[in-house]
Symmetry: C2
Subunit: 244 residues, 2 copies
């Protein structure tokens, strides 16, 4: 089960294009000129046919709010340019055919691994979620229903579960919108606790792309927008995934 003896820690600072720091990556402006196109990333990320299981599909654990908002966004994929992102068991599947930039490669001693948001496999126990992405607006919406195995205070989702879901939605959005690959910073201001088993809606925007960084923000709230759960921001580093 364990994985030891990795050859090197991956150094984000070493890869970062900071003033005065060694620059391993070329500086490129703006994001549109940075590597692959948004369309090619979406085509690769959302394959029409795949053998991998998509976990971002309704199941019996979803609360009525989650189910009906999912259906609403599914309609928007037909008319309003929204895209439903698939959610596989591991990022290894999401980036199949690509590899991480040099310096980030590791040699795991087995392949029994999972992305954190798909690690709890009993329906409803963990991170039930589905992400929709709007390429032209560089926005995403994540429908998130935290399960009883993500508790902090009894009956409520742990702050870490929302941090994780926010980082994950930022991350997928940053990659598709502008090859944002790694979280440089994440800040969350918690306003209300999310009851376990209820729906929280994460509204994510890419606010700015500058100096190889994507600046993201997120408001998490109830579906009716009457209760704000949290306000968050994040900065992601642009890096190109290389062909294998």
């Amino acid at each position: 089960m364990m994985r030891r003896g990795f050859q090197a820690a991956a150094t984000l600072s070493r890869l970062r294009a900071l003033p005065g720091a060694p620059r391993i990556l070329p500086i490129l402006n703006p994001a549109a000129a940075f590597g692959s196109s948004i369309d090619s990333r979406i085509s690769r990320f959302c394959p029409k046919k795949t053998d991998f299981k998509d976990y971002a599909l309704p199941n019996a654990s979803w609360c009525p709010d989650m189910l009906s908002l999912y259906q609403e966004f599914l309609e928007k994929t037909k008319t309003d340019g929204w895209i439903k992102l698939p959610s596989f068991a591991s990022n290894r599947e999401h980036i199949q055919g690509l590899k991480l930039p040099t310096g980030l490669a590791v040699t795991p001693d087995n392949s029994d691994c999972r992305i954190i948001t798909r690690s709890l496999q009993v329906e409803g126990q963990g991170y039930e979620h589905a992400i929709f992405f709007n390429p032209s607006e560089k926005k995403s919406v994540c429908l998130f229903q935290p399960g009883p195995y993500l508790e902090g205070a009894p009956g409520f989702a742990h702050g870490g579960s929302l941090a994780t879901m926010t980082d994950e939605t930022f991350s997928k959005t940053a990659y598709l919108a502008g090859e944002g690959l790694f979280t440089l910073s994440l800040s969350i201001r918690f306003k209300n606790l999310i009851p376990v088993g209820s729906l929280a809606v994460l509204n994510v925007s890419v606010d700015k792309i500058e100096d190889q960084k994507l600046y993201m923000s997120c408001i998490t709230q109830t579906r009716d927008q009457k209760t704000v759960y949290a306000k968050s921001s994040g900065v992601f580093l642009q890096l190109q995934l290389e062909q294998e």
Copy 2:
């Protein structure tokens, strides 16, 4: 498995003693004067005898670094005033005999729940961790070994797993040091990725207690301190747990 129909979301802002906002709680300075004593909280939190299973104990998945640093801190509990915190399956067990402040109570429809950091039950798969607390210095050290079910980038821990472990270590420390009960904000600057299966050491301090808030900071690094994984900060709200 699911939990629906909670009666109300818990509103942190409603409970918060902000300038101009309704004050439900009395304003108390300093932390020492706020409710129970640090000794009584420790006695309750670290029972000498309990039927609950403590998960913060070495198992076969722990890497040599994790195991030896654990032993080192265990020695410090005998001589240097450090305390090893037990880690139960749920915060319901940690706060047994106490209840959350009014307004935060929920009525779950079953009891199959877990704290997020003990949700993955196969040894080594998830959040292997042990927290040591030093009451006189108001500091904690968390030994954290992320498992392969907490992945983000292939081979590395998801940023959300470190956010969760940081929030959890802040949370336990804030409660014991000064009845800090809820995370108001959490910020993380990521410096390096943590390889799955390796040890990350979280060094947590309470920097200030002011206006019913605890200000916390954390440096996460390798055991030899040569690689910094992240620098974090958090603010926690002081609230008293009430006797049941």
